[in-house]
């Protein structure tokens, strides 16, 4: 049973560029959440997708956008990259209406903005 997978593992970009990160949820899961984890900090919620719609959004600017596909996989896009966007980006999947409220995490994508 494959867990949550994220790609790429590492990414280096320069300021002003755009980046796309990808996530495949755990088998059977239908909900994907994205988190940003700055160095030495806990993860911060970016947004959550369910049924291909953004269901909830954290305090992140519109430069952060996402998408969920019919197979439940998801992308996180960040435009006009800033140095402060350097972080570990974590994807988590869950099953809506399961009642257990557990999110399962991938190993993350390390983004470095130079």
């Amino acid at each position: 049973d494959a867990g949550v997978t994220q790609s790429p593992t590492h990414l280096i970009k320069t300021r002003g560029q755009q980046v796309t990160l990808r996530c495949s949820p755990k088998s059977g899961h239908d909900t994907v959440s994205w988190y940003q984890q700055a160095l030495g900090q806990g993860p911060q919620f970016i947004f959550q997708y369910y049924e291909e719609e953004e269901r909830q959004r954290g305090n992140f600017p519109d430069r952060f956008s996402g998408h969920q596909f019919p197979n439940y996989s998801s992308e996180l896009n960040v435009n006009a990259l800033l140095l402060g966007d350097s972080a570990l980006y974590l994807c988590a999947s869950s099953l809506a209406h399961a009642g257990e409220n557990i999110q399962y995490f991938g190993a993350g994508t390390r983004l470095s903005v130079l």
């Binding site: 959440s33 988190y35 030495g40 900090q41 806990g42 993860p43 911060q44 919620f45 959550q48 269901r55 909830q56 954290g58 570990l88 974590l90 988590a92 869950s94 809506a96 257990e100 409220n101 557990i102 999110q103 399962y104 995490f105 991938g106 190993a107 993350g108 390390r110």
Partner: protein, 114 residues
């Protein structure tokens, strides 16, 4: 506002000994779920233990147990018989009943000393 506070940035414990990690949280909600996640150097966030706020009985998972004090909004993690593989960052987190975003603390770095 929902917040999580972990006041111990770093802790160490001798192998086979017991250690307790502290966590306090703040929410005005009455129904929520609390979690401890472990993040080893591999970066993948792994669920350690989960507690439902409406349950008075403290959760246990093998060597891991919690002390949940709802009135004090305290949720500490006790690790018994510490093992070298327990070395990791530990994050306390919670989500309210609607089960969307998780709120994380800043983490406690635990080192198990052989």
């Amino acid at each position: 506002a929902q917040t999580v506070t972990q006041s111990q940035p770093e802790m160490s414990v001798q192998e086979a000994e017991t250690v307790t990690l502290s966590c306090t949280y703040d929410t005005s909600e009455s129904n929520y779920y609390l979690f401890w996640y472990k993040q080893p150097p591999s970066r993948q966030m792994i669920l350690v233990i989960r507690q439902e706020a409406y349950k008075q009985q403290n959760a246990t998972e093998n060597r891991f147990s919690v002390n949940f004090q709802k009135a004090a909004k305290s949720f500490s993690l006790k690790i018994s018989d510490s093992q070298l593989g327990d070395t990791a960052m530990y994050f306390c987190a919670f989500t309210i009943n609607t089960g969307n975003q998780f709120y994380f603390g800043t983490g406690t770095s635990l080192t198990v000393i052989p």
